[in-house]
């Protein structure tokens, strides 16, 4: 969260990074080292009153990540994976990844909801309703009734940088979960992909993978080359797995369509043959039908005239 750029006067005015533009005006340029906020924080720390601290505490409480069971409306006292030990944890982050898991994995077998994350930030507020539509923001956890050690998470909401660590603690807990394999699915815009050719010549969507040291099986696509990096919740989960030596793989789909899109979702198909999803995918033709239905429902909803 950043403060709005209101003009500052007084002693801190000189601390802003200034730059001249081609037209001769002087503007406040963001410093790519992210250091302006450090100076603001220092000044704020010195001037902060008890009232400011209380406002900050209330904001932190509002931004807390809470895990609860919707059926009983009770919060989870321990981390999710402490309550539901798992051998396979699959998480989809973003609407296209979520649509892929809904259509290809969740259509076979009976999945029971075991928890739901509730959070608020400037970009989204998760919904409490039980019937989830693709347009809403949610973060729900399920396990497979026939094999409860398989846990799946559908996360379409944006988890802000100050909430990501909290999310990890509430889901994974503070001690490392061994004997578990993690699979993460997400999308990024193709302009984020750095290559020596121009991005306009790339054939998107395409899949790339990143895996932790302990993940031994070959991934379903090529690995993400240097100097490309990943941030946000997928990076937080993968970092946790790398540090605590949990085998984990991230499948990243680079696409030029970030809203719900059939071609982007289908780009995840190579993962269906992986060990992580083996046994969970039964009927692919039926899945494709479900996916098409999901697309049309979403298109109707996105029409601003209805």
């Amino acid at each position: 969260m950043r403060r709005s750029g209101a003009p500052r006067t007084g002693p801190d005015a000189g601390a802003a990074a200034m730059a001249a533009t081609f037209f001769g005006e002087v503007v406040r340029a963001p410093c790519r080292a992210g250091t302006e906020d450090e100076e603001e924080e220092e000044e704020e720390g010195k001037r902060e009153t008890a009232e400011d601290r209380e406002v900050r505490r209330q904001l932190a409480r509002k931004r807390e990540v809470r895990l609860f069971r919707r059926q009983t409306k009770t919060s989870l006292e321990v981390s999710l994976l402490e309550k539901y030990p798992c051998s396979k944890f699959i998480i989809a982050i973003g609407n296209n990844a979520v649509a892929f898991l809904s259509s290809f994995v969740m259509n076979s077998g009976v999945w029971e909801e075991v928890g739901c994350a509730n959070l608020w930030n400037e970009w989204c507020r998760t919904t409490d309703t039980t019937h989830l539509s693709p347009a809403e923001a949610f973060c729900v956890f399920y396990h497979l009734k026939s094999s409860p050690s398989v846990v799946l998470c559908q996360c379409s909401c944006y988890v802000a940088e100050d909430q990501q660590y909290q999310w990890l603690e509430k889901v994974f807990g503070s001690c490392a979960r061994k004997n578990m394999q993690v699979t993460i699915l997400t999308c990024r815009h193709v302009t984020d992909y750095k290559t020596s050719e121009s991005t306009s010549s790339l054939h998107s969507p395409f899949l790339k993978a990143l895996k932790t040291q302990n993940f031994k099986e070959p991934p379903c696509c090529s690995l993400l080359e240097q100097p490309n990096i990943v941030h946000d919740l997928p990076a937080a989960v993968l970092s946790y797995c790398q540090v605590w030596r949990i085998p984990a793989v991230l499948y990243l789909c680079y696409t030029d369509v970030m809203k719900l899109d059939l071609i982007t979702v289908e780009a995840f198909k190579p993962i269906l043959s992986s060990r992580s999803l083996k046994g969970l995918v039964k009927n692919i033709p039926q899945s494709t039908e479900i996916l098409k239905k999901l697309m049309t429902t979403n298109e109707i909803q996105s029409n601003i005239y209805t």
Partner: protein
């Protein structure tokens, strides 16, 4: 917290702890990349923290297909036991209000590891220089009072410029003087924390502007090398000096992807 890569916790007693400040032009971090890459330092662990924005990518120091698939995260520790050097590399920015807690936790760990001294590589906004600073070298050093006498003597013999104090409130004429490092990120916090924890800390910084900061990073590592002698000293030729520091493979495409031919 420090999490080792291997089974045992390495013994860092007597080591020199090198670290960057996330500062203007990312010069400290670029300089750390040069040091880790040139000395081929080995990763010994992670500094797992909720204070930095998470990020992951494949090995930024990869030299071949075989070593290119190791995952890297936002804060990693590397070591070179033969020179008793341990280096922290930071690859993302601090989450709001978390920079001070990070400095406290990091320096507590460094102190409990019995490292001999801490060296911080940093930078400061060049447009903040006063007239005297504009006419002198762009490099500065700063020491906490707990730095060993031998180091203080060596630094004096190098004729380095100490970071000058400036008015705490520039607009007021008779304001008190204090150390200010605009654009230095956590540098000042590290210095204050170093003083309060009685840690021997040497801060080396360069006055820079945002832009292509590779030459600034090269300048800063040469400045450090004048004292630490990590690499054998060579002639003053800047091209020769640039060649002996190995730029990591992750420095490719620093300014974005290739250009579309249709642009021309």
């Amino acid at each position: 917290m420090f999490v080792p890569c291997g089974e045992s916790v390495p013994d860092l007693a007597g080591y020199t702890f090198l670290m960057p400040a996330v500062s203007v032009g990312n010069v400290g971090q670029l300089a750390m990349d040069l040091i880790i890459s040139t000395l081929n330092m080995c990763k010994i662990g992670y500094f797992y923290t909720d204070c930095l924005v998470p990020m992951v990518g494949n090995n930024p120091y990869a030299t071949a297909e075989e070593n290119s698939t190791e995952l890297s995260i936002n804060a990693e520790i590397y070591a070179l036991p033969s020179k008793k050097l341990v280096a922290l590399q930071l690859r993302s920015i601090f989450i709001k209000y978390k920079s001070k807690p990070f400095c406290e936790k990091l320096l507590s760990w460094v102190k409990s590891s019995n490292c001999a001294k801490v060296i911080v590589l940093s930078s400061s906004h060049s447009y903040h220089r006063n007239d005297l600073q504009l006419r002198s070298t762009p490099f500065r050093y700063l020491l906490t009072p707990y730095v060993q006498k031998s180091i203080q003597t060596k630094i004096t013999s190098l004729n380095w410029e100490e970071m000058e104090k400036s008015p705490c409130i520039p607009e007021i004429n008779d304001s008190e003087f204090c150390i200010r490092i605009p654009g230095g990120g956590i540098t000042k916090t590290l210095y204050d924390e170093g003083c309060s924890k009685e840690i021997a800390m040497v801060i080396l910084l360069k006055f820079v502007s945002e832009g292509d900061n590779i030459p600034d990073a090269l300048g800063l590592v040469e400045y450090l090398n004048e004292w630490l002698q990590i690499l054998k000293p060579c002639c003053d030729d800047p091209t020769a000096s640039a060649l002996r520091w190995k730029m990591p493979s992750s420095w490719r495409l620093l300014f974005g992807s290739g250009l579309p031919p249709a642009l021309f």
